[in-house]
């Protein structure tokens, strides 16, 4: 979309400005820290710490600049006819992997009902691509699929297949579909099992890709819905309130080399087939083997082949669900971490566009950035041990001692700068929402501001814990441990204190050791490190507390104030199907010899 708004020269200028601003912030932090270190003489460790803070600040600044750029414009639709008749045939792909079939297939029923409600005669089919390994769940999938087909009169429109071997995981699942059935369709909407899209949105995606023959992939900006826990609702609020602005900044900078996030997107099947056949990487996992974070690679390959990849952030009606607790978030993040670090093997791939390489670098940096912060903290604790003792009498025979000037003001300035990079974008987003009236969808300006500060507080508390999980993930990958393909936990994610302790006891240990080491070796740093150390020591409590249901008015999102039509449809279908299943179970219990009764039409 950026290509429509700004010229190529403007695009490069914008990218250059963003990089320059980030470099300026990183360079400023570097110089300020060197001045701070120079107060008692510059040591090698001071330079190392300054470099670590340069990289860390650069990364923070990049995020902040993205948001600032995003604040300068609003999402607008491209030029196309939103009522044009749809000529091509589309399939909605729903890959599933040990998911609850009742919930997942009810989403398909809801999307199909939502499509029917538009009255549009477009041909849109649904294909369930099962990679489920659990035979019991697979049997249930078939039963619920039959129920879905019967209820939606879906013969000839709904398809189901289960792979014997799940080679290539999700990317292999999609590839299997295309090589088997791709020629039957012009476009494929790729979803995750927890994706939900309004019928109107699906139709507009088709019209947009049909109107732009060079468009290979169109990505929507999915909003997180149905979060119940404190952690989940904070993520949901963040995705709904802050992310669109960050995404706007991204959309403005990426031009036609946009992102693919693996779901809630439409692809031109021919473009995808021609460009996105993924080989297994040389060597063994975690760096070799099948490409884990395939979506970034597919976007890069489409762009390499000359197709346009676009993020249409103006399109609403695109939803997904998120993890309800920090442990599930960390599990998902472990998989993404391995996938993003694996891109280190692809970043130099032949013929890729520079922006695609930059996107790979960003993805890698997202996971290794915590290591730089951790390195900085460790180096700061160690610095007093390695520093030479202060020389109060640098001039021989001079009787009056010399006290080096305090550089505390520089350290405070640096801290304010770094916190500014973290806080300012979100506060500005809230301010703009209050001014434009957008905040009304989030309960009004007052509530939106209070929610912003609550989210900032919660993310400050959880950040050190997430930093430790990220660090562990990176180290596991670097030491060659494959994370596999764990099933996503969906549904109620409340954690008991015992489970929380089991998941986080190592963080408590590291936090305690870190605080004790700071107290012993660098007492001057103790207060500075409390915001990091205390959440680590209290990690089990934070895990358990943040997984509890949220009853606050804060962090409300539009989907909570006014339920989207497709979400309401999903609720209706699911309620009915759950009742049907309970009745069938009761029936089966009365007649055990007949086994599990299922309505299969």
């Amino acid at each position: 979309m950026a290509s429509r708004l700004i010229s190529r020269a403007g695009l490069y200028a914008l990218r250059a400005l963003a990089v320059a601003l980030s470099l300026l912030a990183g360079g400023g932090a570097f110089v300020l820290f060197l001045q701070f270190g120079a107060a008692d003489g510059i040591e090698t460790l001071d330079v190392a710490r300054a470099l670590l803070i340069l990289i860390s600040t650069l990364w923070l600044a990049w995020g902040a600049v993205q948001a600032l750029i995003g604040l300068t414009s609003v999402a607008r639709p491209p030029v196309y006819d939103p009522r044009a008749p749809i000529r091509g045939r589309t399939v909605v792909l729903v890959p599933v992997y040990n998911e609850d079939p009742l919930v997942t297939f009810a989403r398909i029923a809801a999307m199909d009902a939502s499509l029917s409600a538009t009255g549009d005669p477009a041909q849109v089919h649904f294909a369930v691509l099962s990679d489920t390994r659990n035979d019991l769940i697979a049997a249930r999938e078939k039963q619920v699929f039959a129920q879905l087909v019967a209820e939606r009169n879906g013969v000839g429109r709904f398809f189901y297949r289960r792979r014997e071997v799940n080679t290539g995981k999700k990317a292999g699942n999609i590839e299997d579909f295309i090589t088997r059935s791709g020629a039957a369709y012009d476009y494929a909407v790729i979803l995750d099992a927890d994706s939900l899209m309004e019928g109107h949105t699906i139709l507009q995606m088709i019209r947009r890709i049909e109107a732009e023959p060079r468009l290979g992939l169109l990505q929507t900006l999915p909003k997180v819905i149905r979060a119940r826990s404190r952690f989940g609702r904070a993520m949901q609020f963040s995705a709904s309130f802050f992310s669109p602005v960050f995404a706007r900044g991204l959309a403005m900078m990426q031009g036609e080399t946009g992102p693919f996030w693996g779901h809630n997107a439409i692809v031109r099947v021919r473009a995808f087939a021609e460009s996105c056949g993924l080989p297994a990487l040389k060597g063994k996992p975690p760096f070799g083997g099948h490409v884990l974070s395939h979506d970034y690679v597919e976007a890069a390959l489409l762009a390499r082949a000359g197709w346009s990849v676009r993020l249409d952030d103006d399109l609403g009606g695109s939803y997904e669900e998120g993890p309800e607790n920090i442990v599930d978030h960390a599990k998902r993040d472990r998989r993404w971490c391995q996938g993003n670090l694996q891109h280190g093997r692809i970043i130099g791939g032949p013929g890729l566009k520079p922006w695609s390489r930059f996107v790979f670098a960003q993805g890698i940096m997202a996971y290794i950035a915590p290591l730089f912060w951790l390195g900085f903290i460790l180096a700061s604790i160690a610095a007093p041990l390695l520093a030479p003792p202060p020389d109060y009498f640098p001039i021989p025979d001079w009787p009056i001692p010399y006290f080096p000037p305090s550089a505390a003001s520089k350290a405070i300035g640096l801290a304010i700068g770094i916190f500014g990079l973290l806080l300012l974008p979100k506060i500005l987003i809230a301010a703009r929402a209050a001014i434009t009236g957008h905040a009304r969808q989030f309960g009004g300006a007052g509530i939106a501001f209070a929610s912003t500060f609550a989210e900032l507080a919660l993310s400050s508390i959880t950040a050190p814990v997430l930093l430790m999980y990220s660090t562990r993930s990176v180290l596991q990958v670097l030491f060659g441990r494959d994370g596999g393909w764990p099933t996503n936990n969906r549904g109620d994610g409340t954690l008991s204190l015992k489970d929380s302790f089991l998941a986080a006891h190592w963080i408590v240990t590291i936090g305690l050791i870190g605080l004790m080491a700071t107290w012993s070796f660098a007492p001057g740093l103790f207060l500075w490190l409390l915001p990091v150390g205390v959440p680590m020591v209290l990690a089990p409590l934070i895990l358990a507390w943040s997984s509890r249901p949220s009853r606050s008015r804060l962090m409300g999102v539009p989907a909570e104030y006014a339920k989207p039509a497709v979400v309401a449809l999903h609720d209706d279908v699911l309620d009915r199907w759950v009742l049907d299943a309970e009745r069938a179970e009761a029936e089966a219990a009365r007649q055990p010899s007949k086994g599990f009764a299922v309505n299969n039409g």
Binding site: R87, G88, R89, Q123, A127, K142, Q143, F145, A146, V149, A150, N153, G154, V155, G156, R157, F158, F159, Y160, R161, E175, F177, I178, T179, R180, S181, G182, A183, A184, Y185, D186, V269, R270, A273, E274, S275, C276, G277, L278, P279, L281, K282, V291, V297, L301, R345, I346, G348, G349, P350, V598, N600, G601
Partner: protein, 73 residues
């Protein structure tokens, strides 16, 4: 049939409306609800160099044999 895609079997019109009532879940999945047979090639892409950066760098430093003369030379 669309302007873009050929006609494929396994569309609703190919099966009588009463088909689902008569079919079990297994029959549906292996019959009218099996994926349409419409293969499309998906060639494997090259996404990493055959050699690592260091090897490629070193290889570029070594003198290369001159290419064989083409026909007509």
């Amino acid at each position: 049939m669309t302007a873009h895609t050929p006609h494929i079997p396994a569309l609703a019109s190919d099966y009588p409306p009463s088909a689902p009532a008569a079919l079990s879940a297994e029959d549906l999945i292996s019959g009218p609800c099996a994926l349409p047979i419409a293969p499309m090639a998906m060639p494997v892409q090259v996404i990493e160099h055959r050699q690592g950066v260091l090897r490629r760098l070193l290889a570029s430093l070594y003198p290369q044999a001159a290419p064989a003369p083409g026909p007509g030379h």
